[in-house]
Symmetry: C2
Subunit: 219 residues, 2 copies
């Protein structure tokens, strides 16, 4: 079985990506990051989802002592109910996906995995620069140049299967694959129930609405 | 004063890079990584060098639980006295510089620094893939695509001033800049004195010999 590394956040997109990689027959290992999020909820959900999928998971703790993002700094307000999803919001964490992919590349090369899956999405997303197709294209080249595997002709590929899907398409795909959406956590807040007002909750609600499905995470 | 981030390892190349960046008038911040090296010596030396240079330094602890490198795993032998410096040695740490640059990019963007200095060298080096000019060329593109700064037209540049210098040229440059080479640590071992036999010691000795200078770190 071919090995693959999957970046798992506990959200809807990465859970779908995990199930998709497994459905393609990969022997999957998850990487979960604790990087100073305002709450621990998504890490706990990521681990629960990995357990449910019987997928081994590493949790890596990352220090970003310079903060600078509303996602890491609870003294900053979270964007809520933006009329238009334009511009880069205050939840942007500088170079986050670059750091995550660096670790994934190291892990993949160490275990001989030729595939790294990331659930990035460039349609129904928050406008982060490191979710755009051209960013992932640049990564393909970098992964080849950065590694011993690449030099020796064994390429490590960054797989972004959700990149050009709408949120509703992702959800329909995930339902077919049996993704336990009731276990996924999208809200930027860590309260008992999703807030329903932050960007991430709004994108999720829009996706379920357009897919014509009830969100099983909501009571 | 323009801000810059410098990756500082405690070795000869990164110390020279720090002093070079300062000589160019940058307001420099150092990033030092504790990533599971066999010994703590180079981190201590990096911090001592930063202190001497009056440069603020962050130490980041990084977990690479998958090991796979003789540099991180003390049960593996270190390469010694290789007749030829060919191929990629067992001290290669998968994707190490990619992870380091990811953090540097995050830090630089957070503090508004437009320059990241790294003391990579592609001539008198150990053959690591992430020390080659083409790898850094790819990084220039990635840094632009990965960040809010890049999207908004404020490019963060990866500076590799030592990339095409011989070790002896680096040493001569450093001596002019006042780099305290007696404080730098190159040896892969963490003993009281450098072993004099590992790849890193051999490259250093060759550099000082060719520069016609006595290594002040040796008694």
């Amino acid at each position: 079985m071919k090995k693959a590394v999957v970046l798992l956040s506990g959200g809807l997109d990465s859970a779908t990506t995990l199930y998709l990689a497994m459905s393609k027959g990969f022997d999957v290992r998850a990487l979960v990051f604790r990087y100073g999020q305002r709450h621990d909820r998504e890490v706990r959900q990521a681990l629960a989802i990995a357990r449910r999928a019987k997928c081994p998971a590493h949790v890596l703790k990352i220090e970003l002592p310079w903060k600078g993002s509303a996602l890491l700094d609870s003294s900053k307000p979270l964007p809520q109910g933006r009329k238009q999803m334009r511009g880069i919001p205050s939840t942007y964490v500088p170079a986050r996906n670059t750091i995550f992919l660096g670790f994934a590349l190291s892990y993949a090369e160490s275990i001989g995995a030729a595939h790294i899956f990331i659930g990035a999405n460039a349609l129904d997303y928050s406008g982060y620069p490191d979710c755009r197709p051209r960013y992932y294209k640049a990564w393909q080249g970098l992964a080849k140049l950065a590694t011993k595997s690449g030099v020796e002709g064994r390429r490590i590929k960054i797989e972004t299967p959700l990149l050009r899907l709408k949120k509703s398409q992702i959800i329909r795909l995930g339902i077919k694959l049996g993704v336990p959406y009731e276990m996924t956590w999208s809200c930027y807040q860590g309260a008992k129930e999703p807030c329903g007002r932050c960007d991430s909750c709004l994108l999720r609600a829009k996706g379920f609405m357009e897919a014509g499905v009830k969100d099983p995470a909501l009571r």
